[in-house]
């Protein structure tokens, strides 16, 4: 666990240096393309200036912006003892000070954590999540969020996000400037350049290509890192709770959910949530390279594959088993720890029994020719084969459905 933290910190620095090179390089190239070789310095300074301003803004009030944008309400022990207790349990298990706890009034199940350092951290959970999950599953989700805080992911994602924003801003400004001011540019460049029009034209092309590619490259980097962090947070949660099945069940319940998309989801804050709050991003499949989160089904399979124990190495082994690719865990974090899995809590055991009974009932119904319809409100309608009418009304939300008898 401490190895992970140490390595995350080191990798953060390396990555940020890489992104800084990207940003400053872009700034220099653009500056040179506009104003000749002297313009390089100016471009660099402007790029740095943008980055500094964005960093200051996000550092000083990033937490509040995030919480305010999500309509988060602070929660004390008396308001919701179970949530508060679960967060307290996880803070003891991780050794972190107790974060501030918030509830978001939204039926979509999701959760996030913010906080640059553990002393000023907050954890927020939606009302939809509290309604759907039992104690073990809630513990798994809160453990995942606390792991983000523990591994210093928030700091990292914030810095990377700012870097990405600066790159995007810079290239947007440049490219739009190109489109609108093409004529006047030639006057600039031939005035300032010493090597004549040819070199300037090449620089210009290079700048344009860089301006188009840079945001894409940094975005892909950002997504790849964000996905990796999610896996590591899953591993951290399994280790803290000693019960990966809890988080697996929670993810399953969240994935099955049919409520409308989280009202306050937007592209900037999306990576902070436990599950991608966007249900559909145009035509793209959410589980490819352009997603901030790994596919839920894969996360569930990895967690359920952890049969040997709950340590980081066990997660790493399960990861390699399921994805058949190299592990995301840094090598020095793979020390052999003897961490045994624990059993489900009493509440969870009862729920499992109920679930089994329902599954058996559904199989019997399917075999006997029942028709299954899913309503948008989340209810599954199971219509017997001798139902005569052509339509049926959902008992919860009263929308009418057509009954197709194939």
């Amino acid at each position: 666990m401490w190895e992970l933290i140490r390595i995350n910190k080191r990798n953060s620095v390396l990555l940020l240096m890489l992104m800084a090179v990207c940003l400053l390089g872009l700034g220099a190239v653009i500056g040179m393309a506009i104003k000749g070789p002297d313009g390089g310095m100016l471009g660099l300074m402007i790029a740095t200036g943008i980055w500094v301003i964005l960093t200051l803004i996000s550092f000083s009030s990033g937490d509040q912006i995030m919480l305010a944008a999500s309509n988060a309400v602070p929660v004390t022990h008396d308001v919701n003892p179970q949530l508060f207790n679960v967060v307290e349990e996880m803070s003891i298990a991780s050794g972190l000070p107790m974060p501030k706890v918030y509830i978001i009034n939204d039926p979509a199940p999701n959760a996030f954590a913010t906080g640059r350092n553990p002393k000023s951290a907050s954890v927020a959970v939606t009302a939809g999540l509290l309604a759907k999950l039992n104690r073990d599953e809630l513990q798994g989700v809160v453990g995942h969020e606390m792991s983000h805080i523990l591994h210093r992911d928030i700091l990292f994602v914030t810095l990377a996000g700012v870097m990405l924003g600066s790159v995007a801003l810079l290239s947007q400004v440049f490219l739009r400037g190109m489109m609108y001011g093409g004529g006047s540019r030639r006057r600039y460049s031939s005035g300032g350049g010493k090597g004549g029009g040819g070199a300037m034209a090449i620089l210009l092309i290079v700048a344009i290509v860089a301006a188009i590619l840079a945001p894409i490259v940094t975005q892909l980097l950002y997504f790849a890192l964000s996905r990796r962090r999610e896996y590591l947070a899953d591993a951290g949660s399994a280790r803290l709770t000693r019960y990966p099945e809890g988080l697996a069940n929670a993810l399953e319940k969240i994935a099955d959910d049919r409520a409308p998309q989280l009202a306050s989801a937007n592209k900037v804050t999306a990576p902070m949530f436990i599950v991608n709050p966007f249900k559909k991003m145009g035509e793209w499949n959410l589980s490819d390279m352009t997603s901030t989160h790994p596919p839920i089904s894969e996360r569930i399979r990895i967690l359920r594959n952890m049969s040997q124990g709950a340590s980081l190495k066990d997660y790493s082994d399960a990861f390699v088993n399921v994805t058949k690719s190299r592990t995301v865990m840094p090598a020095s974090a793979l020390t052999k720890e003897d961490i045994a899995l624990r059993e489900a809590s009493a509440e969870a055991k009862e729920e499992q029994k109920e679930k089994q009974l329902r599954q058996v009932g559904d199989i019997m119904r399917k075999v006997n020719g029942f028709i299954f319809l899913t309503c948008a409100c989340g209810m599954t309608l199971k219509i017997p084969p001798n139902y005569a009418a052509a339509t049926v009304e959902c008992p919860r939300c009263h929308t009418t459905h057509n009954v197709n008898k194939a």
């Binding site: 003892p81 179970q82 207790n85 307290e88 349990e89 003891i92 298990a93 000693r242 720890e337």
Partner: protein, 187 residues
Amino acid sequence: MVVLIILLMIAAGLLLVVLYVIGTYNVFVGLRNQVDNAWSQIDVQLKRRHDLIPNLVETAKGYMQHERGTFEAVTNARAQAMGAKTVAEAAKAEGALGDALSKFMLVVENYPDLKANQNFLALQEELSSTENKIAFARQAYNDQAMFFNNRIQMFPSNIVAGIFTFTKRDFFEVSAAEEREAPKVSF
């Protein structure tokens, strides 16, 4: 001239060693304090459990009038745990208290009126949360102790550890074998 250079190199080497020793010592002190802190966390949670129990017994007494034996068992176990002096005694007494509590909760299962009481439900959540917290505090202590032990036993920092006598910390093992088994329900 050459002698001067050699002397300077030896001095530089010594300086590096001293800096290393100081740095490692400080790291060890920080880690040891964290282990102590984790240990005291366990104490905090155990005390919380002690404080919850009288309230629990009072709330239940109104409903479970004929279960005096169960009440006495819990109250005695609590007194024992609070009076324990050494760490070994405390571990044993806390294990016994945990057993008494789980037997108590089993008896509660027979009283649906009590189970529906709001106060009791709140107390039950607090109690189960406290049990979880005790478990997690133990877990955190063991993790921290293991990290500390690793550091002081690995080469070359174990030399520094030996000089300043940082000793290995014991893991907080579950003492009573009964505590490891889930309570068996038999009617």
